[in-house]
């Protein structure tokens, strides 16, 4: 078994909705009881529609949001309750985030060199006399060559793809174990996209980085990822090895997502009927399956009992009363 880097248990994030009314506050359940494990040298894709909570998961793990409830074990140590500056700094040097917008995440008045030097200095990674060499190494790693030339440039002199590479080089500066990539390619042109995905594969293989790859693009997810987590309205509705899940998805929502991907090889007959609805998190959602209003397979029980995540096949679990029914109480327990 590959070693565990980040073990996320029961991650929950509720945001207060509108104003408090007579002492009773309502909450948007952005993320509800999400558990998964990131392992070294593995890429885990987290997919779902806008508002499904997938970016919130990444942001909580990057400690940009405080979780409502969670236990996060980083290499075996519980970091969810750590609040001290030094502990946070240590955690952040190991768990880094790559943002969607490479245009907004770099300082326009600073050179590329500055962006990459900062983390090296702040976290005291190298001595001053090795700084230049390390900056050049990092730029070379992400394919920005010749490094001395690129280092002197300003963000506006770079293309979107190059900027995203700078953003990645910056995260690599602190030698992270985990990279949280939030839609890193969705703002890039198609011809540039593959280059970034290939870079992720290279980093996974050469540096054994554990990736959480947040995306809505199933084809890109399949290209790089080993495992997949499918989120719907704040819950994980299906998870497992990506090839197994995409080849034969259990949850009707995963099937729906899959059928929406443009694929010239797929006949129209294979497409499933799309029913309108929202994947976004609900305010104080009632019990029952959150997909029930859109589900072509829904039965009675779906509208009043929330289905548990059931490991219906080896390492492949889904939250569905119909396709992944829980037979006994023993099996009813959420998949570990």
């Amino acid at each position: 078994m590959t070693e565990t880097s980040l073990d996320v248990r029961h991650l929950t994030k509720h945001f207060p909705a509108d104003s408090a009314r007579l002492g009773r506050r309502s909450y948007v359940h952005a993320v509800d009881d999400v558990s998964f494990t990131l392992r070294r040298g593995r890429i885990t894709a987290l997919v779902g529609e806008s508002g499904s909570g997938k970016s919130t998961v990444a942001r909580v793990l990057a400690r940009l949001y405080e979780p409502t409830k969670a236990s996060v074990l980083f290499e075996g140590r519980d970091v969810s309750s750590e609040r001290s500056r030094s502990a946070l700094r240590r955690y952040r040097s190991q768990v880094q985030m790559i943002f969607q917008d490479p245009f907004g995440s770099l300082n326009p008045v600073k050179t590329v060199r500055h962006h990459i030097e900062r983390p090296l200095l702040i976290h005291g990674i190298v001595a001053r006399d090795e700084l230049e060499e390390r900056v050049h190494d990092l730029l070379t790693t992400v394919g920005l060559v010749p490094p001395e030339h690129v280092a002197a440039k300003y963000p506006h002199e770079l293309s979107g793809g190059q900027r995203q590479r700078v953003a990645i080089a910056r995260t690599l500066a602190v030698e992270p174990v985990v990279l949280l990539a939030d839609e890193p390619t969705s703002m890039l042109d198609v011809s540039i996209r593959i280059g970034i995905l290939n870079l992720m594969l290279k980093l996974k293989e050469e540096r054994r980085i554990a990736f959480l790859y947040v995306t809505h693009d199933l084809a890109c997810a399949r290209y790089v990822a080993d495992e997949i987590l499918v989120m719907y309205a704040g819950q994980i509705v299906e998870q497992g090895p990506i090839e197994a899940v995409l080849a034969d998805p259990l949850h009707p929502y995963t099937r729906l997502l899959l059928s929406a991907v443009p694929d010239s090889g797929l006949g129209e007959s294979k497409r499933i009927e799309v029913r309108k609805g929202l994947a976004s998190a609900a305010v104080d959602p009632p019990d029952g399956c959150r997909f029930v209003t859109r589900c072509p397979l829904a039965i009675d029980v779906c509208s009043h009992t929330t289905p548990p995540l059931v490991e219906a096949r080896s390492e492949h679990a889904a939250r569905c009363h119909v396709t992944a029914p829980s037979q006994s109480h023993a099996e009813k327990e959420a998949v570990r």
Partner: protein, 345 residues
């Protein structure tokens, strides 16, 4: 499905298809004046037949939206047409007067813009925006226009009662549908869609495109569909033109393009989309970035990124770096602009 928008004439689909609706001849558009000029579109020939779905694909900055704006006749300074003509049913639009063009827009050709969901007036009810647009083009009472708006909303799958809604009360996907309904209100013969679904989720995107396809089959309007997502076009378009740095480098019926892409750029684009099913292999994508159009490379515009442009092959290399390849027919209805594939003809 509906009798809201009547078909234009009693002609069969095949007859209709053979008729050329819009034709671009040697179209060139520049931005800027004097010595600060960027040639965004450089000599494009493109024909759109009645009832046909034509896809235009390419990366950001390749000039695809500029082409759309030219067909819609909404180019504004600093953009200006420097060469070529735009024919609508044989009439050259570049020679028309302002008032004639105002009537042409929306009635003959309408457009769904990039991020169109934000192009509705936020302080006007949806229905009133229909009334506004329709009264600008024809004598119609407010009541009749509202009735028509309700019918059109129904056509695109939105509850009729939503004519009373304000845009902020609708989701992104619903607003996009409203825009499509608005674009179809005067039964145009050509609908231009410029990245109509880029800002939307995959599922909403598919719903909307499916709906446009159904409407298109019922009402027989032509579509010029502009997107960077080639995989989407392969599914929805009858014919696809690939643009690179202001030029069309390849055009063919979708199925042909899918089976037999010829231009190295087209092949590169195809290899930029990982497949969702079947075997998976490492893709190469396209190295480098599109050229700066203020200072384009010599010869073939794609040569700095082209995997088939090798200094070892001196004679071919010299040609690729000095001579601009012309678009030529390599097989029936399949055009390619590449020095390498000329021999195939």
């Amino acid at each position: 499905m509906t009798n809201v928008v009547e078909p234009m004439a009693e002609v069969t689909a095949t007859e209709r298809r053979s008729e050329v609706l819009v034709e671009l001849r040697g179209l060139a558009v520049e931005y800027g004046f004097g010595d600060r000029r960027v040639r965004a579109v450089d000599g494009i020939d493109l024909a759109i037949h009645a009832g046909e779905v034509v896809g235009l694909a390419g990366e950001s900055g390749c000039g695809k939206s500029t082409v759309a704006n030219a067909v819609m006749q909404i180019l504004r300074p600093p953009a200006h047409l420097t060469r070529g003509s735009i024919l609508f049913r044989g009439d050259d639009l570049t020679l028309k007067k302002r008032e004639e063009l105002r009537k042409y827009r929306w009635r003959n050709v309408s457009m769904v813009f990039q991020s169109a969901m934000n192009s509705l007036n936020p302080v006007m009810r949806v229905g009133d925006q229909f009334v506004d647009m329709m009264q600008a083009h024809q004598h119609v009472s407010k009541k009749a226009a509202l009735a028509r708006a309700a019918e059109l909303l129904d056509v695109v799958g939105i509850d009729k009662r939503r004519v009373r809604a304000f845009p902020h009360e609708l989701s992104g996907g619903m607003r996009q549908r409203v825009i499509i309904a608005l674009a179809l209100a005067l039964s145009p013969e050509l609908l231009i869609m410029d990245e109509p679904t880029t800002a939307l989720d995959v599922i909403v995107q598919r719903e909307i495109l499916q709906q446009v396809q159904d409407l298109q089959r019922d009402l027989h309007f032509a579509v010029l569909f502009i997107t960077h997502d080639l995989s989407l076009l392969l599914e929805f378009a009858d014919r696809i033109a690939i643009m690179y740095a202001g030029e069309i480098v390849e055009s063919a019926p979708s199925a042909r393009l899918h089976e037999n892409p010829q231009h190295p750029y087209t092949r590169g684009l195809m290899e930029s989309f990982p497949p969702i099913s079947g075997p998976l292999q490492r893709l190469a994508g396209i190295p480098g970035a599109p050229p700066d159009l203020a200072d384009p490379p010599s010869g073939c515009l794609f040569h700095p990124r082209c995997p088939l442009c090798l200094p070892e092959e001196a004679a071919m290399y010299a040609r690729q770096t000095t001579e601009r390849p012309r678009l030529r027919e390599v097989e029936r209805d399949h055009f390619v602009a590449c020095h390498r594939v000329e021999g195939v003809a």
